[in-house]
């Protein structure tokens, strides 16, 4: 944020270890951080500047300046000054306290000590004095001071473990390993001090999982990637010490680069409000012009003669100029139609609603001690207008607690239990689970009901051995022993955990790993495999592999991954097994299980060496490295031998079915976007009632080319409409009339339809010319399930609906792959669950269980929307009633911009006289209680149709305000005209009139707040009051 321009142009970073002089040339930022915005001196100017950038504040400042011009100042300056100063001060105080805490935490962070190698000695140095190129020693459980290149550590092979909770919220340990050349340095201070490697790497950026660079040292180059880097904000765990060289410091670190860039979402009501405020401003100008013209005429006809009574000097008889001044005077007087307090009140109300969400015990999940959290406080009323929900499946609908259920090994299925009749049934309680007690390392919570697998192991089936060995070797799990000597696995993905645990219970126990070896216990004997290469998982590859050399010296590639991908890589000899396994996989998927295919390949020593050489070369590249590496991975992961498949169960969360049923009743369309297989997705769809058997038709779009997809979409549509409409006339006609047609068509389609589309087809369907077809079809279906989609596609789908349907969307998810969709939708909801915290960090609302979504939308959202709409209608009404009286009075006071009320009354009307009832209404009002809104989801629909506050409602409110102002002005006018008190005194004076009007206004408006508008009590209250005033 505060980087100078010069530095932001940095394209490449060049850092030399232990050479501050060299590094100083580049003027890299040092390790001092400023998250604070202001200092004592700059606070006032900067903060005021920021505040007056808001249109509302600037507008009121403009009014204030107008009021300071004596010729046109019809109101004294304090009427605007008081609320403006109040608002500005409140915001400033809030900003100041925020900043004070930031200063405090900055100071605390900047003054943390770390051991830095200076002048060949380890010295304690404050964080803020650490410079790029310094070598730092970290100890266990210490925070990392800057982005470091790991040089060496206490663990063998330069391994170290870090926790990245502060960065991405994930609490599992991650492993980093140093280059072998540097890990040899160990803790030898003198050698470390002589280390003079130069790192050339990318410029500072905010990508947490990417790093590219090259270390040049002793005439050789070593490529660096994310595995060698420890980022600021991490905590060193399970590692005695480690040394690292500072590459990015302070504001350049990835932690700091990631902070503070939150996209500001606005609600549709916000936007409507801004439009309305503009309209009102136009209305204000019109009134000003009318009154100004009136003033010109009056001045011309009456005022000129009357002038002698007012002014000693009879000069400046310019009625046009007088009209011009009057215009501005009336702009000032009538500005209260859009009072500052509107903006403040809206914020206060939203804040209140957010707190209600945070405080709701019914959205508190005791299982994880997680209350719901409104992370954004400005979107609440939009929760009451949701039309589309885009939901992730894993971890959102399901618990994301994986249990190994079934497997298919070499064409044989395990895990199914045949009962007496021979029917395959699921596990029931009467079956005894496999007894793992012989295995002391077994995980007690693991249960498996098929004894045949254990028997196969006992029989020594080599394929089964290989299968389990693969499960124990091919993963990213980290192991550690707890105090009781028990093996604990640190897992990044629950699937892997389930598989490794299963292997463990069946006797293939993963013990430990280093960067070059993996040790497992195979049925009681310890075997150490040499880890030759690790081909990691990503969303595009959808598979991972390890290449290991077993003690016998054979090199093997073990691979596991999505079946569709892996099956393409199989050796042709697997044909028979493939068909068998595919059947099994479909069966698994049909039961809603998550499946992975398992395969291996024996590698030739020479071939592997060549390949490894190429990999190392590719790694040293800077340009196109990723592409090259991907190509190499592709190259070696072929001719695989199929072993079998695994099936892991992910249970549906509690209450998901009811929630989805209720949300559908509330006319919310639910789309599931998942990375799972089509069968799994469909099955989950049935399980949670998104898909039902009474649906008229379920369209499945699974074309592989654009033409196929288009054809399938067209067929589905024809199916949907019957033969009534022909689609042969192409899309050109469509695109233009899309929206009109849709609304008509939607009504004509009867019955429930569902659309299932896979990632392949979606990629084609999202192309511009089929997009409309897809959208049209999808929107007419009750349910849409997109499977095998990438995170980017998720966001694209959301964007599509958002853009072309003009509907309010909500995306809910729990994993890093949902972040793009969460950020894209109008409202993003994060499930604080198993898969880390990235989704939550990117979200606007978060809670622990999917079922709370029902309460969030149907209760909190509905109330928020309802309250906000009521508040806005009322507020505009109130201020029209309040302000227009001046307009009517203008006709009786020669358009001289005389106000009807006392100046203080005008200044305080909105913030004192009428603020509390309306705030209370906006915060607490409940039209129906929470139970009823849950029981009758139909009550949600007014929000979706935007019925409670729209332009029409606004005009009704405005007309009502005009009417009230007429009554408020003309009834007292009639009553006061030519009247005398009971003792004959003159009571039709300006002051009495002003007080009467003000009092009636407060009464009328307060009574109105009670929403008795139907009874039209206002007029009556008014009469009574007029009566009392005598």
């Amino acid at each position: 944020m505060f980087r100078s321009k010069k530095k932001s142009l940095e394209v490449e970073r060049r850092v030399k270890a232990n050479d501050r002089e060299y590094n100083e040339k580049f003027q890299y930022a040092d390790n001092r951080i400023h998250t604070s915005k202001y200092s004592i001196l700059t606070f006032l100017p900067i903060n005021l500047f920021e505040q007056f950038q808001r249109v509302a504040n600037a507008y009121f400042l403009f009014l204030l300046i107008l009021q300071l011009i004596p010729e046109i100042s019809s109101l004294t300056w304090f009427t605007t000054m008081v609320p403006l100063v109040l608002v500005i001060t409140m915001t400033a105080v809030k900003d100041a306290t925020d900043d004070y805490f930031r200063h405090k935490s900055d100071n605390q962070v900047n003054n943390r000590l770390s051991e830095v190698l200076i002048d060949s000695k380890l010295q304690n140095e404050k964080w803020m004095n650490v410079k790029v190129g310094d070598i730092i020693k970290l100890e266990n459980n210490q925070f990392v001071a800057a982005d470091l290149l790991l040089l060496s550590s206490s663990e063998p092979h330069g391994l170290c473990y870090i926790e990245t909770a502060e960065l991405d919220g994930e609490t599992n340990l991650k492993v980093r390993h140093a280059l072998s050349v540097t890990s040899e340095l160990g803790a030898d201070i003198s050698r470390l001090a002589k280390f003079d490697g130069t790192v050339v790497c990318e410029a500072p950026n905010n990508k947490l999982d990417k790093f590219m660079g090259v270390l040049s040292w002793k005439d050789s180059k070593h490529s660096l990637n994310n595995e060698k880097i420890i980022l600021r904000g991490c905590i060193l765990r399970n590692t005695g010490w480690c040394f690292g060289m500072v590459i990015f410091a302070g504001p350049d670190t990835k932690l700091m680069q990631n902070s503070g860039k939150t996209k500001f979402k606005r609600t549709s009501i916000d936007r409507l409000m801004n439009t309305l405020v503009l309209w009102i401003f136009g209305f204000l100008v019109c009134m000003g012009i009318i009154l100004a013209i009136g003033n010109s005429i009056w001045e011309n006809q009456v005022g000129d003669q009357f002038r002698t009574f007012l002014f000693l000097n009879e000069g400046e008889k310019n009625s046009v100029f007088s009209g011009f001044l009057t215009f501005w005077s009336y702009i000032i007087i009538l500005n209260t139609v859009v009072p500052i307090s509107l903006y403040v009140s809206v914020e206060v109300i939203r804040l209140g609603h957010s707190y209600f969400i945070n405080w709701d015990r019914k959205m508190y999940y005791s299982g994880k001690a997680t209350p719901a959290e409104a992370r954004t406080t400005t979107l609440n009323e939009e929760l009451g207008q949701i039309e589309y929900i885009f939901s992730d499946k894993t971890g959102t609908l399901t618990e994301n607690i994986m249990t190994f259920k079934k497997c298919s090994i070499n064409g044989k299925i395990y895990g199914e239990v045949d009962d007496d009749i021979g029917q395959k049934t699921d596990v029931t309680k009467k079956n005894k689970p496999v007894d793992f007690s012989v295995n002391p390392q077994a995980d007690r919570t693991f249960q498996f009901f098929d004894h045949r697998l254990m028997e196969s192991i006992k029989l020594g089936d080599s394929k089964v051995y290989e299968f389990l060995r693969l499960l124990a070797l091919c993963h990213t799990v980290m192991s550690e022993e707890n105090n009781a000597g028990k093996l604990i696995y640190q897992v990044q993905s629950p699937d892997e955990g389930a598989l490794v645990t299963a292997a463990r219970n069946f006797g293939f126990i993963f013990k430990s790993r280093t960067s070059e070896t993996i040790t497992i216990e195979e049925l009681g004997t310890l075997v150490t495999y040499q880890l030759l290469a690790f081909l990691d998982f990503n969303n595009i590859r959808k598979r991972m592999s390890v290449i290991v050399r077993n003690p016998e010296g054979q090199i093997k590639l073990y691979s596991k991954g999505a079946d569709t991908i892996l099956f393409e890589k199989l050796h042709p000899s697997n044909e028979d097994l493939l068909t068998l396994t595919t059947d099994h996989l479909n069966e698994f998927a049909g039961e809603g299980l998550r499946t992975l295919a398992i395969a291996y390949r024996d590698l030739d020593d020479k071939y592997f060496k060549e390949w490894h050489k190429m990999l190392e070369d590719a790694n040293a590249l800077i340009d196109e490295r990723d592409e090259r590496i991907a190509g190499l991975y592709e190259e070696i992961e072929r001719d695989l031998m199929l072993l079998g498949a695994t099936a892991v169960e992910d249970k549906l969360q509690e209450g998901v079915t009811e929630t989805i049923t209720n949300l559908s009743l509330a006319n919310i369309k639910i789309w599931i976007l998942t990375g799972d297989k089509q069968e799994t997705a469909i099955n989950i769809g049935y399980a949670c009632n998104i898909l039902t058997d009474d649906m008229n038709d379920v369209f499945i779009i699974a074309g592989n080319t654009a033409v196929e997809v288009r054809e399938e979409l067209r067929k589905a549509k024809e199916n949907l409409f019957g033969q009534n409409r022909s689609f042969s006339n192409g899309h050109v006609v469509f695109e233009k009339q899309q929206l009109e047609l849709d609304s008509v068509v939607e009504e004509t389609v009867t019955g429930d339809y569902a659309l299932i589309i896979n990632g392949h087809s979606l990629a084609h369907a999202l192309e511009s010319d089929i997009k409309d077809d897809l959208l049209e079809l999808a929107c007419m279906c009750k349910t849409v399930v997109c499977c095998r989609v990438t995170p980017l596609q998720k966001a694209q789908v959301v964007e599509l609906v958002k853009k072309y349907r003009n509907a309010v969307t909500l995306a809910i998810g729990d994993g890093a792959n949902d972040v793009s969709m969460i950020k894209c939708a109008h409202i993003g909801v994060g499930i604080s669950g198993q898969e880390g915290m990235q989704a939550v960090l990117a979200s606007d609302y978060s809670f622990a269980q999917f079922r709370y979504l029902q309460r969030l939308l149907l209760v909190h959202g509905r109330w928020s929307y309802f309250r906000m709409c009521k508040f806005l209608c009322y507020f505009f009404y109130k201020n029209f009633a309040f302000t227009l009286v001046h307009f009517w009075f203008g006709f009786f006071c020669g358009f001289s911009a005389q106000t009807v009320y006392d100046q203080w009354f005008i200044a305080l009307f909105n913030i004192v006289y009428t603020s509390l009832p309306v705030l209370a209404m906006g915060i607490f009002d409940q039209d129906v209680n929470d139970q009823n809104s849950m029981d009758y989801p139909q009550l949600y629909e007014p929000g979706q149709l935007n019925l409670l506050f729209n332009k029409r409602k606004f005009f009704i409110g405005m007309a009502h305000g005009v009417y009230t102002s007429l009554a408020l002005f003309f009834i007292p006018y009639g009553a006061f005209y030519n009247v005398a008190g009971e003792d004959g005194q003159h009571i039709a004076d300006y002051q009495s009139f002003a007080v009467t009007m003000a009092t009636s206004l407060v009464i009328v408006v307060s009574v109105q707040a009670k929403d008795l508008s139907d009874l039209r009590l206002d007029v009556r209250a008014h009469f009574q009051f007029s009566g009392f005033s005598f």
Partner: protein, 344 residues
């Protein structure tokens, strides 16, 4: 996550009525009978009040005589400001056909005089009128200082434009005997004005207290010589002055000028007969196309009110009843229909 879950109990939100949105609330359960009876009751109340107000307004006797045209020669004279020192009187005879019983009040009424103009209303100095600081002429410009720089007391456009006609009512018993109707010039101001908002500077001698100030340019006499008969009715405490300073809300207004002193012939009020107003015409109204009139009026408990308020109440009452009747009709019809529905 791990660490937070260890301190889990504190994360459970409080079970208070506020936080769980369970605050007690009362919801109006409106039944048809309740609403209808409410409507009828309010309607009845408004009708009652309206009728009473109309009756009481009817009982008021009022006579108004516009004298701008009757005293045309004076009006002409006053149009030219240079004639300010020429006196002009005018007599307006009239016949009172009925006795005006009870207290009778004499008003002057101005048409088209904008006492509610923004610049006009502001043009006064309250601290000067309170007697605290005679030199304080705050908002009074351009009537704040005289030509030689002395502050004007009372300053400002309101004070400067004071209504300065003198109205004397005579009772003509016959063609030769004219009795001057006794009038009180006290008790015509608001109590708060007389005793709080307006105070003379606290010196024994008024003329010395006002030394160093100038009279408003349109005034013929300084403020301490407004009432030569009653020395207590001078300075800022002059009743006519105070009445004028209470600015009217609308361009047409009447202000209390005198009260009838009920002695001698006038114990009962003003007897019927021939009267005449003798007006010394000073206040120019034709310049701004305005008019002046004198008003004699009685009051009732509801004040010297016009018919408007009574009519407004009556109309509201009538409309409410109309609404109530139609709602009753609709209610009865729907009731039958729902019954039918249930039976079917």
């Amino acid at each position: 996550m791990k660490r937070t879950s260890e301190i889990c109990p504190s994360r459970l939100p409080d079970n208070s009525a506020l936080k769980q949105q369970q605050l007690p609330a009362c919801r109006l359960q409106l039944s048809a009978a309740g609403v209808l009876s409410g409507f009828f009751a309010t309607g009845a109340f408004c009708l009652g009040v309206g009728i009473i107000l109309i009756l009481s307004a009817k009982s008021i006797k009022e006579i108004e005589i516009k004298y701008t045209n009757i005293c045309g020669h004076c009006a002409k004279l006053r149009e030219d400001a240079t004639n300010f020192d020429k006196e002009c009187t005018c007599s307006i005879p009239f016949y009172l056909s009925e006795t005006m019983k009870g207290n009778v009040y004499l008003y002057y009424k101005l048409y088209g005089f904008y006492q509610n103009l923004y610049q006009y209303i502001l043009s006064r100095s309250n601290s000067q009128l309170m007697g605290t600081d005679l030199k304080d002429v705050g908002n009074c410009a351009p009537f704040s200082k005289s030509h030689n720089g002395t502050p004007i007391a009372p300053c400002g456009a309101i004070a400067n434009s004071i209504f300065n006609d003198t109205i004397i009512l005579s009772y003509n018993l016959n063609s030769s005997i004219h009795i001057k109707v006794p009038m009180l010039r006290s008790g015509i101001t608001w109590w708060t004005d007389k005793y709080v908002k307006f105070q003379n500077p606290s010196t024994f001698n008024l003329s010395s207290a006002f030394a160093g100030t100038a009279k408003p340019p349109y005034w013929s006499k300084p403020v301490y010589e407004l009432d030569l008969q009653d020395p207590g009715n001078n300075g800022f405490l002059n009743d006519d002055f105070i009445v004028w300073m209470r600015t009217a809300a609308f361009p047409t207004f009447k202000k209390l000028y005198r009260r009838l002193n009920r002695i001698q012939y006038f114990v009962e009020g003003l007897p019927a007969g021939n009267y005449s107003f003798n007006i010394s015409y000073n206040f120019p109204v034709t310049r701004f196309k305005g008019e002046k009139s004198v008003v004699l009026s009685t009051t009732t408990w509801s004040g010297g009110s016009s018919l408007f308020l009574g009519l407004a109440y009556t109309v509201t009452g009538a409309v409410t009843w109309l609404a109530a009747f139609s709602m009753t009709a609709i209610h009865l019809m729907l009731k039958d229909r729902t019954k039918l529905f249930i039976e079917q």
